[in-house]
C-alpha cells in the first residue's frame, strides 16, 4: 500500500468524504446509501474511500467489498465522462432495445454490454427498466432521457455528447432531422 493510500488518499477531498460518511451517523444500515453517495461524488468507488468507510463505520473491509460487488450500480473502476444507460426492460426489448445497445457498442468499440471507452469519454451501463415504457427504446445519457431511439439515430446522439455541445433532447419520432 502506498503512502497516500495509507492516508486514505489526499486527492479525495477528505472533508467531503468525511461529511458523506458522517451524514448517516455511521449507522451500519446506511452502508449502501453511503456508497451510493460516494459514487455520485467521485463517479466510482475509489479503493481509498472504501478503506476509510470501513474504518469510520466499523465494518470489515471484506463486507464492504462484498456489498460493492453484489449491487450492480457500484463501480470499482473510474467511469467515463458521460454515462450512457440503455434501458433493457421488456418493453424496450420487444421494441428493439437490444439493437440499440449493439449499435452503441459498435460505435464506441466496446467488447461487452457495458464498460468504458479507452478515451474515458463514455461508460455504457445497461439498466433493467426505467419505467418509461411508452417511450421505448429509451437511453439516458447523463440523466437526460432520449426516447424512441432507433439504431439510426444512436450515432447522432453520441456525437452531440462527444462534441461537448449543449445537447437538445432528441425524441425519435419528433426529431425532424432524424
Amino acid at each position: 500500500m502506498s503512502k497516500s493510500e495509507k492516508k486514505y488518499g489526499d486527492h479525495l477531498k477528505l472533508k467531503k468524504l468525511n461529511s458523506i460518511i458522517k451524514k448517516n451517523n455511521c449507522e451500519k444500515s446506511a452502508l449502501i446509501s453511503t456508497l451510493l453517495d460516494i459514487q455520485s461524488e467521485y463517479n466510482y468507488l475509489p479503493k481509498e474511500a472504501l478503506i476509510m468507510v470501513a474504518k469510520e463505520m466499523d465494518i470489515p473491509l471484506n463486507q464492504i467489498y462484498s456489498v460493492a460487488t453484489f449491487y450492480k450500480v457500484f463501480s470499482l473502476q473510474p467511469r467515463g465522462e458521460h454515462i450512457i444507460n440503455v434501458c433493457l426492460g421488456t418493453a424496450c426489448h420487444v421494441r428493439g432495445g437490444g439493437r440499440i445497445i449493439d449499435e452503441i457498442r459498435r460505435e464506441l468499440k466496446l467488447k461487452d454490454n457495458g464498460g468504458t471507452t479507452e478515451d474515458m469519454k463514455f461508460t455504457l451501463e445497461p439498466v433493467r427498466c426505467l419505467g418509461c415504457c411508452a417511450s421505448g427504446p429509451v437511453i439516458v445519457v447523463d440523466n437526460e432521457y432520449h426516447s424512441q431511439v432507433t439504431p439510426k439515430n444512436v450515432n447522432k446522439i453520441l456525437k452531440k455528447y462527444s462534441d461537448g455541445r449543449k445537447v437538445k433532447k432528441i425524441i425519435g419520432s419528433q426529431d425532424k432531422n432524424a
Binding site: 421488456t90 418493453a91 420487444v94 421494441r95 427498466c129 419505467g131 418509461c132 415504457c133 439510426k152 425524441i171
Partner: protein, 620 residues
C-alpha cells in the same frame, strides 16, 4: 383542546381554502418520469412564461403533477375547471393555449385527442376510450395534486383515515377491517394483507418494523413509481395506519435508485409529514410514535424478495434466506417485521375511509379491489391502467389498449415480469385475477403486462428473461445459479442456429428442477417464461431447431436481408447508412448486400423508403 382536535380543525381550514382555490382556472401538467422524458418540464416552463407575459399570475394557477397514466400521448395537460384534455403538447403550443383557451375560452382542435376508431376529437379525459373502462381509485389523485404539497393531499381528504384510526379505532379493529376487505398483496405473491398484519400484530416484541417495498424491479412495470411520484402521502398514511395496528415504531421505504424522482418526492413528503407532526414522537398527542426512513436499493432485482430486502436494509448484500421463520416473526435485525408493497399501502387509507364492505364489492371472489397495470409493448395505448379485478385480458388489450399498432396480429401477453409467463390469444377471455392467471402458468405479479405481436419471437423472449434472471440470481442456490445458466445456454444455442432436437425435453426437465429445488421465489419462478412459451409456442422453438428459421424474423443467425431487384431504384440510401459498408452498387442501379460483411443490424431495412429490402426468416 386536545392536539388531535386542533389538527382536525387545521385540516378543515386547509380543505376550505383549497375548495375556494379550485374555482380558479388551473393548468395541470402531467410530469412523472415518463412525462419528463417527453418534455413535460419544458412545456411547464413555456406555459409559465406566457402566463407571466399576459400578467395572469394571480388569475391562473399552474401545477406539475405526477403521471396521469396515458403515457402514449405525453406531455398531457388538463385545464380546470372545464377539464379540457390536451395531448402531445409542445412548448411552442403554450402561447396558443393561454391566449385561446384560457383567455378566449376556445378549444384548440389540434391538441385534442383523436379517437382512432372514428376520427372524432375528444375534449374530456373521461370520454377517451383508454380511460372509459378504468376505475381509478388510486391513480385519479395523481391528476390533481402537487406531490410536493401536503396541503394538496389534505385538500382531497388525505390524512382523514389516520385521524379516524387514532381517534376511534383499536388496532384489532383496523386489522379486522383490512382482513374483511379481502385485499391481497400487490407485490406479486398475493398473500392476504390482513392475515399478514394479524401475524405481525400478535408476535411479541418491543421493537417491530414495517417496510414499504418500493424495489419495483420487474422490467416493464412502473405502477409503484407512479404512485410514489404522484401521491407519496397516500403511501405514508397507509404505513402510519399499518404501524399503529401492528405496534411498529419504525418504518423503512426501500426504493430503487433507478427512480430518482420518486426518491425526491417521498423524501419531501416525509419532511412535510414531520412538520405537521404526523411522523415523529407522540403523534398528535396520542402517544403513538412512528418514524420512516428511506433506504435506496442499488440495482439488484432479488432485493424485491422480502428476506433479501431485509438483508439489504441491514446494509448487507441482498441474499435471501430460508423461510420460516417469516419476517413477521423474525425480520430486520431479528425483530418482527411487516412488509407490504407500495400499491398495497396506498390502498389502506381508502379501505379505512370507505369501509371493508365497500372495498370487497369491487373485484372478483378471490381478488378484491382495483389493480394498476402497466400496459406496454406492442400496443397502441401504452400506459398505466387501473381496473377492477376480473376484467378480461381481451378488454384490457382491445378496449383500453386500443389493439396492436399497424394492424399486426396479437401473439401473446406476458404478465408478472420475469417470474410470470406468456399467455396466448386462445386464452384472452381469461379474467384478470390472482388465481385465474396462476391456473394458466403465469402470475399476477406486480402488474406488468407486456403485449407481443407477430414480430416478437417467443424464443427470444424466453432468452431475454433467462439472461435477466441469470444476471440477477444471487447465486446462493446451486439449482438457480447453475440451472438458469444452463437453460440460457441451450436457448442461446437455439437462437444461434445450433439447436438440437433433444433441447426441448432438456429445457423442460431443467425447468422443473430449478422450480422445485430453489429456495426463494426468484429461483422457484425463474423457469416460468421458458415453460410457458414452450407450452403455448412449442412450434416456434421447433422452427428454430428443425427448420433453422426464426418465424418472427428476430434472431439474427436465423434471418437474412435481400435487396429486391424489381423494387430497388438505386437511390443509395442503404449503402450510405450501412455501418459495415456491406452494401454496394452504382447510383440508379440495383444494389446488393455482401453476406459476409452483413451483421444483420437492420439499418438498411429501416432506411429504405421503397420497401426494396426484404427481411426473411431463415439464414439463406
Amino acid at each position: 383542546m386536545k392536539d388531535i382536535d386542533k389538527f382536525k380543525q387545521k385540516l378543515s381550514r386547509i380543505r376550505k381554502s383549497k375548495a375556494e382555490e379550485s374555482n380558479r382556472p388551473c393548468i395541470i401538467v402531467s410530469s412523472g418520469t415518463c412525462g419528463e422524458a417527453r418534455g413535460s418540464k419544458e412545456v411547464f416552463l413555456a406555459l409559465k412564461n406566457v402566463i407571466k407575459k399576459y400578467k395572469l399570475g394571480k388569475k391562473v394557477d399552474i401545477r406539475l403533477t405526477g403521471c396521469h397514466g396515458f403515457c402514449q400521448v405525453e406531455p398531457i395537460i388538463i385545464i380546470h375547471p372545464e377539464n379540457i384534455f390536451y395531448q402531445s403538447v409542445q412548448p411552442e403550443d403554450a402561447e396558443e393555449i393561454i391566449s385561446e383557451t384560457i383567455i378566449n375560452k376556445n378549444i384548440i382542435d389540434h391538441l385534442l385527442f383523436k379517437d382512432p376508431n372514428n376520427g372524432k376529437k375528444i375534449k374530456l379525459e373521461k370520454d377517451i376510450p383508454f380511460y372509459k373502462k378504468q376505475n381509478k381509485l388510486l391513480l385519479k389523485n395523481n391528476a390533481s395534486i402537487d406531490p410536493f404539497k401536503i396541503e394538496d393531499y389534505i385538500g382531497i381528504g388525505g390524512y382523514s383515515a389516520i385521524l379516524k384510526v387514532l381517534s376511534k379505532m383499536k388496532p384489532e379493529k383496523v386489522i379486522d377491517t383490512i382482513k374483511e376487505s379481502g385485499i391481497r398483496g400487490r407485490g406479486g405473491a398475493g398473500f392476504p394483507t390482513g392475515i399478514k398484519w394479524s401475524i405481525a400484530g400478535k408476535t411479541e416484541g418491543k421493537k417491530k418494523y414495517i417496510v414499504c417495498n418500493a424495489d419495483e424491479g420487474d422490467p416493464g412495470a412502473y405502477m409503484d413509481r407512479s404512485i410514489l411520484e404522484g401521491n407519496p402521502h397516500s403511501v405514508l398514511e397507509g404505513m402510519m395506519i399499518g404501524a399503529n395496528a401492528i405496534g411498529a415504531r419504525e418504518g423503512f421505504i426501500y426504493i430503487r435508485y433507478e427512480y430518482p424522482l420518486a426518491v425526491t418526492t417521498i423524501d419531501a413528503a416525509i419532511k412535510q409529514a414531520k412538520k405537521y407532526r404526523l411522523l415523529g414522537k407522540n403523534i398528535l398527542g396520542t402517544g403513538f410514535d412512528f418514524d420512516i426512513k428511506i433506504v435506496r436499493g442499488a440495482g439488484a432485482f432479488v432485493c424485491g424478495e422480502e428476506t433479501a430486502l431485509m438483508a439489504s436494509i441491514e446494509g448487507k448484500k441482498g441474499e435471501p434466506r430460508q423461510r420460516p421463520p417469516f419476517p413477521a416473526e423474525r425480520g430486520i435485525w431479528n425483530k418482527p417485521t411487516n412488509i407490504n408493497n407500495v400499491e398495497t399501502w396506498a390502498n389502506v387509507p381508502l379501505i379505512i375511509n370507505n369501509g371493508a364492505k365497500w372495498y370487497s364489492k369491487i373485484g372478483t371472489k378471490g381478488s378484491k379491489g382495483t389493480k394498476i397495470f402497466s400496459l406496454v409493448g406492442k400496443i397502441n395505448n401504452t400506459g398505466l391502467v387501473e381496473v377492477p379485478m376480473g376484467i378480461s385480458l381481451k378488454e384490457m388489450i382491445y378496449d383500453i389498449g386500443g389493439g396492436i399498432p399497424e394492424n399486426k396480429n396479437f401473439k401473446a401477453i406476458q404478465t408478472g415480469g420475469p417470474s410470470g409467463g406468456c399467455i396466448p390469444k386462445e386464452l384472452l377471455d381469461l379474467p384478470i385475477d390472482y388465481d385465474e392467471l396462476a391456473s394458466v402458468g403465469s402470475i399476477m405479479g406486480s402488474g406488468g403486462m407486456v403485449v407481443m405481436d407477430e414480430d416478437t419471437c417467443m424464443v427470444d423472449v424466453a432468452k431475454y428473461f433467462l439472461s435477466f434472471l441469470e444476471e440477477e440470481s444471487c447465486g446462493k442456490c446451486l439449482t438457480c445459479r447453475e440451472g438458469i445458466e444452463r437453460m440460457l445456454e441451450i436457448v442461446e444455442r437455439i437462437t444461434e442456429k445450433e439447436g438440437k432436437k433433444e433441447d426441448i425435453e432438456t429445457l423442460k426437465e431443467l425447468g422443473e428442477v430449478v422450480k422445485d429445488a430453489s429456495m426463494c421465489q426468484l429461483g422457484q419462478t425463474a423457469p416460468n417464461p421458458v415453460l410457458s412459451t414452450l407450452k403455448y409456442f412449442e412450434n416456434e422453438y421447433l422452427a428454430h431447431i428443425r427448420e433453422k428459421k426464426c418465424p418472427a424474423k428476430v434472431c439474427r443467425a436465423l434471418i437474412s436481408f435481400k435487396i429486391l431487384k424489381d423494387v430497388c431504384n438505386g437511390c443509395g440510401a442503404c449503402r450510405i447508412a450501412c455501418p459495415e459498408k456491406a452494401i454496394s452498387g452504382e447510383k440508379k442501379k440495383l444494389h446488393s448486400i455482401d453476406r459476409k460483411k452483413c451483421i444483420k443490424c437492420g439499418i438498411c431495412f429501416e432506411t429504405c423508403k421503397f420497401d426494396a429490402i426484404d427481411k426473411r426468416a431463415g439464414s439463406d
